[in-house]
Point group: C2
Chain length 191, copies 2
């Protein structure tokens, strides 16, 4: 049992949640290659949703993202919205995960986001040359999937009900925070 | 002499450079209201250029930005590109200054950038409702000024030769770093 998550481990919420919360650079002490290789699109999306849930419990906006290397299947970046936590006016799930990944070539990676990307994040995704983007919620927001496809990115929709319900709950509870996150404080002040 | 920079101080490079390097939240101990009120568009642009110079000396991309409250004339955010310094794949001058300013209403502010904004930064500028943007270099890059104007932002061009020469020197010295900053590592790997 060199690793908590190994080839014999069941893939379950406890493991995926631990992956979401573990710093990316330390994931190698949590799980071995055998476990990593068995993670599916659905599992990576669920990790993004657990990151969204982490943000929600911190009082933040519940949106998370995970970036996976297509060849190795390893997570190379992940993160969640930090509007509240860092008083950060534009750090969304996608920007957080890209910041976490650092200066890598994103063309051979897939980004999983728990919510459809905003204009800024969509622009960043094509400016950084992503090869594939998987979107976990086109119910609470949508629209930029077409822009990404026009830019040559493979876009897949893989809705995760846990994330969709969480975001809908957040939006009902904190409509101003939701609006600030999308359109900035200037839009909130106009209401 | 309660302040190093006061109503009697000449506005010169030493003072503007000190402002560029001083943390934003500490600017109130460096200069008084009388000095602050006399700063012009040209001075704020030069502060953005000194931030670009700071980044250049750190081995980074020489692009800086300053955000000023239109009513008070106070600097509420500033920063420079940190691609190299933070291994940050998209932190440009504008994003750095906006992050520094935090969760404020940007509609009553002006952003001074030493270089014409990229697609991501231009998108962020209108998504965060900026009222006015002043661009210090449309020689080394340009194009998104029209997009900003279409979105209702007042855009003024105020070229600063110190910044333009600095950016041209950087681009000649480190063409790959320049390309990575605009198009990401995937574009560099294709060359």
């Amino acid at each position: 049992m060199e690793f908590l998550l190994n080839n014999n481990s069941q893939i379950n919420p406890a493991g995926l949640k631990a992956i979401a919360h573990m710093p990316t650079t330390s994931l190698g002490v949590l799980m071995d290659e055998g476990y990593t290789q068995r993670l599916s699109d659905k599992d990576f999306m669920r990790i993004a949703v657990y990151l969204a849930e982490k943000s929600y419990h911190e009082g933040g906006c519940p949106i998370g993202a995970v970036i996976v290397d297509n060849k190795t299947g390893r997570i190379v970046g992940k993160g969640h919205n930090t509007l509240v936590q860092e008083s950060h006016p534009y750090n969304h799930g996608e920007t957080a995960a890209i910041r976490d990944a650092g200066r890598i070539d994103f063309s051979q990676t897939t980004l999983y986001t728990s919510l459809s990307p905003c204009d800024v994040c969509a622009t960043l995704l094509y400016m950084r040359g992503f090869g594939r983007v998987v979107v976990g919620d086109v119910t609470n927001a949508d629209g930029n999937e077409n822009l990404l496809r026009e830019k040559g990115i493979q876009v897949d929709i893989l809705e995760d009900m846990l994330g969709i319900e969480l975001y809908a709950r957040f939006r009902a509870e904190k409509p101003h925070q939701d609006m600030e996150d999308w359109q900035g404080m200037s839009a909130v002040n106009k209401t």
